[in-house]
C-alpha cells in the first residue's frame, strides 16, 4: 500500500481551548562570549565549537514544531564573540531588534550586557553560576536558567548528609572562582549540619595540563598533599578551574569518596541521563547534532524552551508579558528531571533538580528525600527568599 505522508500546513490551528489563535513571530538570540582557556585535563571535556548553540538548535526545532499548530513562528540567531568584541556585537543584536537573548558569559560581562540592554529586553543567563547574581547583584531583566553555586553545593551537601557523611575534607583551588565555590560549600555545610574538619588549598602554579608521562608524578603528589588530614568521611573538591580535582579519586592518602568538582559531580544534565523520558530527548539531540549533549546545551535548550512555553501559553511575543508569565505561579515546564521547573519570583532563579553524576550514570538526584520546604522541595537548594538580598523583583 502506498505510503502517505500527510504534511502539516499552517492554518491547522483551529479550535484551541485557549481561544482564537493569532499569528505570533518570535525572535530570540543566543549570545556567547568565548574566553581564552587552557585545554581541559580530560579530553572528554574538550569544548565543541557549537557548545550551547547545538542545544539552541534543538530548542528552535521543538518550539517551531509546537508553534506550527498555533500559528507561532520562531527565528533563532546565534552569536559567538571574543570578550573584547562583546559590547559591539551585543549592541548590534539590540539594534537589530532582538529583545529575548540567552547569554553565555561570565558574571561581569553578563551584568554589563544586562544593564546595556535595559528594561525592554529579557536576558536569560545560561551559564554563570555566581550566587551574587541571584543575591545583591540581581537584575530585573535577568533570569537564571543556570543553577547558582549555592544550589550545586547544596545538592552535594544533601546527598552527603543522606549518606551520613557529615565530616568533610574541603580541598579548594587558588583562583577566584574556586574560592567562591569553596565558600558555597562552607555555607552548605552550615545549612545542612556538616562539619568541615580539614581544609586545604591546592595552588594553581600554572603550566600545561598534559604531559607525556601523564599520571606518574600525580600518583606521588596527591597522596602527599592529602596525608595527615583529620578524620573525615568525604573529600569535597572546589576546583572550577579544572586544575586538580580529577586527580583526587584513587590518589587520596585516606581512601574516601570524592564529591564536588570530581568524583560525584552536581550537574544540570549529562548525556547518559535516561530517566523521566530523557532518552528520547538525548536521541533527538544526537540525531540533530552528531554529538553528545553537554550541560551548556541543556541549559540553552531549557532557556529557549522557557521562552517557547511562555509564548505558547500567552500567544504573544511581548517581553513584559512573557517575563510576568514566566515568573508567575502559572508557569511550569517539563525538563526531563521528574518534576516541573519553575522560577523563583524573588530573584529570577529557575528551580530545578540537580543530578549527581559520576561520569557515567546518574547516581542520585537532589533535593534528597526528606528535605522539605513550605513552597517546594526544590527551594531547599540555593538562596531562599529570606536569604536573598535581591530587591529588583519586588
Amino acid at each position: 500500500m502506498k505510503l502517505l505522508r500527510i504534511m502539516l500546513a499552517f492554518g491547522m490551528f483551529s479550535c484551541l481551548a485557549a481561544g482564537q489563535a493569532l499569528a505570533v513571530d518570535v525572535r530570540a538570540a543566543v549570545f556567547r562570549i568565548d574566553y581564552p582557556a587552557l585545554a581541559p585535563i580530560s579530553r572528554y571535556d574538550l569544548v565543541p565549537e557549537d557548545m550551547g548553540f547545538a542545544g539552541a538548535q534543538l530548542a528552535q526545532e521543538d518550539n517551531a514544531t509546537t508553534g506550527a499548530f498555533l500559528g507561532h513562528t520562531y527565528e533563532l540567531e546565534t552569536v559567538a564573540v571574543a570578550p573584547e568584541d562583546a559590547d559591539a556585537a551585543f549592541d548590534a543584536l539590540l539594534a537589530g531588534g532582538q529583545n529575548l537573548i540567552i547569554v553565555m558569559a561570565r558574571q561581569d560581562d553578563l551584568l554589563r550586557l544586562a544593564d546595556r540592554a535595559g528594561d525592554g529586553v529579557l536576558i536569560l543567563n545560561a551559564t554563570a553560576h555566581d550566587t551574587a547574581l541571584r543575591d545583591d547583584q540581581c537584575r530585573a531583566n535577568l533570569l537564571h536558567v543556570a543553577p547558582s553555586r549555592a544550589m550545586l553545593a547544596d545538592a552535594v551537601a544533601q546527598f552527603a548528609m543522606w549518606k551520613k557523611w557529615p565530616k568533610w575534607f574541603l580541598i579548594s583551588g587558588s583562583n577566584p572562582d574556586d574560592k567562591l565555590l569553596a565558600d558555597a560549600y562552607r555555607t552548605s555545610a552550615r545549612k545542612f549540619g556538616a562539619k568541615i574538619v580539614e581544609e586545604r588549598e591546592f595552588e594553581d602554579t600554572g603550566g600545561s595540563r598534559r604531559t607525556d608521562t601523564g599520571h606518574v608524578l600525580v600518583q606521588k603528589q596527591i597522596p602527599v598533599f592529602t596525608q595527615d588530614a583529620r578524620d573525615h568521611d568525604v573529600v569535597i573538591a572546589a576546583d572550577e578551574s579544572d586544575v586538580f580535582a580529577p586527580y583526587l579519586p584513587f590518589h587520596l592518602w585516606t581512601p574516601r569518596p570524592t564529591m564536588g568538582s570530581a568524583g560525584l559531580r552536581p550537574v544540570t544534565f549529562h548525556a547518559a541521563h535516561e530517566a523521566w523520558g530523557a532518552t528520547q530527548f538525548q536521541r533527538r539531540f544526537e540525531a540533530l547534532t552528531g554529538r553528545y549533549m553537554r550541560e551548556e546545551d541543556y541549559q540553552v535548550w531549557l532557556a529557549l524552551r522557557v521562552i517557547g512555553e511562555a509564548v505558547t501559553r500567552t500567544s504573544t511575543n511581548e517581553v513584559a508579558t512573557l517575563r510576568n508569565y514566566v515568573l508567575s505561579d502559572q508557569f511550569e515546564l517539563a525538563a526531563f528531571k521528574g518534576v516541573a521547573v519553575t522560577f523563583r519570583a524573588w530573584n529570577g532563579q529557575m528551580r530545578q533538580p540537580i543530578l549527581l553524576y559520576d561520569g557515567r550514570i546518574t547516581v542520585s538526584v537532589s533535593p534528597q528525600d526528606g528535605y522539605l520546604h513550605q513552597r517546594s522541595p526544590l527551594d531547599s537548594l540555593g538562596l531562599d527568599l529570606p536569604e536573598s538580598a535581591c530587591t529588583a523583583f519586588d
Binding site: M1, L3, L4, R5, I6, M7, L8, M12, F13, S14, C15, L16, A17, A18, D62, T65, T66, F69, L70, G277, T279, Q280, F281, R283, R284, A287, T312, R313, E332, L333, A334, V339, A340, L372, S376, P377
Partner: protein, 324 residues
C-alpha cells in the same frame, strides 16, 4: 485431519479454562511478558518479549498480543495461546504506546523520536500513513466510533485530534505539562488526558462532530504526599462511564474519579510507581502495573479497594487483559 482439529481444540480448552482471562504484563527491565490467570491470580507464564517491552494491547478476538519492544524499534506480535512470536510490525523508532482500531486493524503507533504517529495495517504489515504531530508523541486514544485517534505530545503539550478518515489533524488542544495518556469515555462524549508533570487530568467535552471543548482540569491532593509526586499517567473509565481510575505514578496511589461530578472521591494505595491500568472484561477488577515494586495490584472496581498484589517480572510497565 479430524483428529488433529480435535486435539487442538482439546489442548486449547485445557490451556484456557472457561471464565478465566489472561492478564498480560510487560516487564520493561526484565524484557519479558508475565501472564496471570484472572481466576486464580497466579502467574502462569513469563516469556521473552524483546528488548524493553512497554506498550501492550490485544486483538479484539483475543488471539494476537501486540507488544512495543522499544529498544528493538518494533511492535512484536505474539500468539496468546502458545506465546510464540509470530512476526513484527514496522513501527518506526522507539515505539512506546499504540492503540488498535476496534476492528483490530489498523494500529496507530506513537513514535517519540520522530514526532510522528504511524498507522500500520495489521494484516498486510505495511505502513499506511505517517502523521506529523507535536514533539514527543506518547499517549494514543481512539474514540468509540473509531472516527478519531487522539495523540498526546509530551513536549508540545497538546492533544492532537486525528481523523481516521483522512489521517489529518483537525483539532489541537493545549493541556498541562507532559501529557501521557488519552482515554475516551465509553459513550464518546468525554476525553480524559493525563498530564504527568502538570499533575492534572484534562477533561474535554466531545461534540457529535468530534469538536473538543475543555470542560475541567482535575487536580490531586493528598495529605502526607508531596504534590510533585502526584503524577497522573494511565487512566481507565468504566463502561457505564461512572468511574475513572487514574494511576498516580510515584505517589503509589490510584485515584478514583466520579465522572459525573468530575471529582476525586478516593485514593487507593497500590505498589510503587503505579503506571498503567487495565480492567478485566467484566470490569470486576482493575489491574495496575507497579514499576518500582515489581508487582501488579488487583483492585476491586465496585468496592474501590485493593485486594491483592502479585509479583511479576522486573519493572512492570503495561497491562492488557484478554477479552471474553
Amino acid at each position: 485431519m479430524h483428529r488433529l482439529i480435535l486435539t487442538t481444540a482439546l489442548v486449547a480448552a485445557i490451556a484456557t479454562p472457561a471464565l478465566a482471562n489472561k492478564v498480560f504484563v510487560t516487564n520493561e527491565k526484565g524484557n519479558t511478558v508475565s501472564v496471570i490467570d484472572s481466576d486464580t491470580w497466579e502467574v502462569i507464564k513469563e516469556f521473552d518479549a524483546g528488548h524493553r517491552p512497554r506498550g501492550i494491547t490485544i486483538s479484539p478476538d483475543g488471539k494476537l498480543l501486540y507488544v512495543a519492544a522499544s529498544d528493538d524499534d518494533q511492535v512484536k506480535v505474539f500468539d496468546t495461546d502458545t506465546y510464540e512470536e509470530l512476526y513484527s510490525l514496522p513501527s518506526g523508532p522507539d515505539p512506546e504506546l499504540f492503540v488498535l482500531h476496534p476492528s483490530g486493524n489498523p494500529i496507530y503507533i506513537a513514535n517519540e523520536d520522530d514526532n510522528l504517529v504511524t498507522v500500520t495495517d495489521t494484516e498486510s504489515h505495511t505502513v499506511l500513513a505517517e502523521i506529523p504531530v507535536g514533539v514527543e508523541p506518547e499517549g494514543m486514544g481512539i474514540s468509540p466510533n473509531a472516527e478519531w485517534v487522539v495523540n498526546t505530545s509530551e513536549t508540545t503539550n497538546m492533544a492532537h485530534f486525528i481523523s481516521t478518515a483522512d489521517y489529518k489533524i483537525k483539532h489541537n488542544v493545549l493541556v498541562d505539562q507532559r501529557p501521557r495518556y488519552a482515554q475516551f469515555s465509553d459513550d464518546g462524549t468525554l476525553l480524559f488526558v493525563t498530564s504527568e508533570i502538570g499533575g492534572t487530568v484534562s477533561v474535554m467535552d466531545i461534540a457529535a462532530d468530534g469538536t473538543p471543548t475543555m470542560k475541567k482540569k482535575i487536580g490531586f491532593e493528598l495529605p502526607g504526599v508531596l504534590p510533585e509526586w502526584l503524577q497522573p499517567v494511565g487512566l481507565r473509565v468504566t463502561a457505564d462511564d461512572k468511574w475513572a481510575f487514574v494511576a498516580l505514578g510515584p505517589a503509589n496511589r490510584v485515584a478514583v474519579i466520579d465522572v459525573e461530578q468530575l471529582e476525586v472521591v478516593k485514593y487507593i494505595i497500590t505498589g510503587q510507581r503505579v503506571w498503567q491500568l487495565a480492567f478485566t472484561p467484566d470490569e470486576k477488577y482493575l489491574i495496575t502495573t507497579n514499576g518500582n515494586s515489581n508487582d501488579v495490584t488487583v483492585i476491586d472496581v465496585a468496592d474501590h479497594e485493593a485486594i491483592k498484589s502479585i509479583q511479576v517480572g522486573q519493572q512492570p510497565w503495561g497491562v492488557v487483559v484478554s477479552p471474553e
